[in-house]
């Protein structure tokens, strides 16, 4: 099964709606609840990152019996130093993002903790693509 969602940068009122849809699909497929939690936490963090940092993005998810393969591709500023961005507590989030309860520098590390495999392709000034794999 393949699903695709668009995410708008800055649209905090809808941040999480794609993750919510994917959570519903995984529940309908009777995926183990602890796996669903890992998937949606990783995806929600990635979705919030697009809303917080990028202009727009697309979430692609392939779900099959062996696992879920998610690509979160954004058009945005990119990440100048991925290693630094993966450091717990490091954040470039705006005051507005922090007021929403995010921007604590825990997003990428948390995605990595929940994923079986994470890769980050980023070009400064163009955008970032996350490839997230979680096996069932």
């Amino acid at each position: 099964m393949h699903v695709e969602y668009n995410v708008e940068g800055g649209d905090f009122s809808n941040a999480g709606s794609a993750s919510s849809q994917i959570k519903k699909i995984l529940k309908q497929l009777n995926v183990d609840p602890s796996l669903i939690k890992r998937v949606v936490v990783a995806l929600y963090e990635a979705e919030v990152n697009v809303v917080a940092h990028a202009y727009r993005g697309v979430i692609d998810a392939d779900i099959n019996p062996s696992g879920i393969y998610i690509t979160v591709k954004d058009e945005g500023p990119g990440i100048p130093d991925v290693e630094l961005a993966m450091t717990k507590g490091y954040s470039t989030a705006s005051k507005e993002v922090r007021e929403m309860g995010f921007g604590a520098g825990m997003g990428l590390p948390n995605i990595s903790e929940n994923a079986d495999k994470l890769s980050i392709d980023t070009v400064v000034g163009k955008g970032t693509t996350l490839n997230i794999e979680i096996r069932f």
């Binding site: 919510s20 949606v40 929600y44 919030v48 929403m100 309860g101 948390n110």
Partner: protein
């Protein structure tokens, strides 16, 4: 501890999810930082927060948190109620601070996640 008991201890008002008042919960976590809530590995705990916006409820949804306490008399918005209803999340509002709620619930037997 029953949700109804929690409600009475913190003098809370249930704004949505009254049908779950007999549910039992064992663990609690208090934070205004949703990124922190998303790192909690267990499910089925009660979240105490001072953050009153739709992302707080979305975070509860993603983290499998069925119960929330919003501290310090904040006004729950229609978009928060919509997400809570969709996900069967109970929202309790109280005039007490997060510190006071946490203290009361801790001495009455709710366990910390960490």
């Amino acid at each position: 501890m029953k949700i109804s008991e929690i409600c009475s201890l913190i003098e809370g008002t249930v704004v949505i999810g009254e049908y779950r008042m007999d549910d039992e919960v064992e663990y609690a976590f208090a934070s205004d930082l949703m990124s922190d809530v998303l790192t909690v590995k267990i499910q089925n705990f009660i979240l105490l927060t001072g953050l009153c916006n739709v992302q707080a409820v979305r975070t509860a949804e993603m983290s499998d948190v069925p119960y929330m306490i919003i501290c310090r008399n904040k006004q729950v918005t229609p978009d928060m109620l919509e997400v809570a209803e969709e996900s069967n999340i109970v929202i309790i509002c109280t005039r007490f601070s997060m510190f006071k709620c946490a203290g009361i619930l801790y001495v009455n037997g709710l366990k910390p996640v960490y």
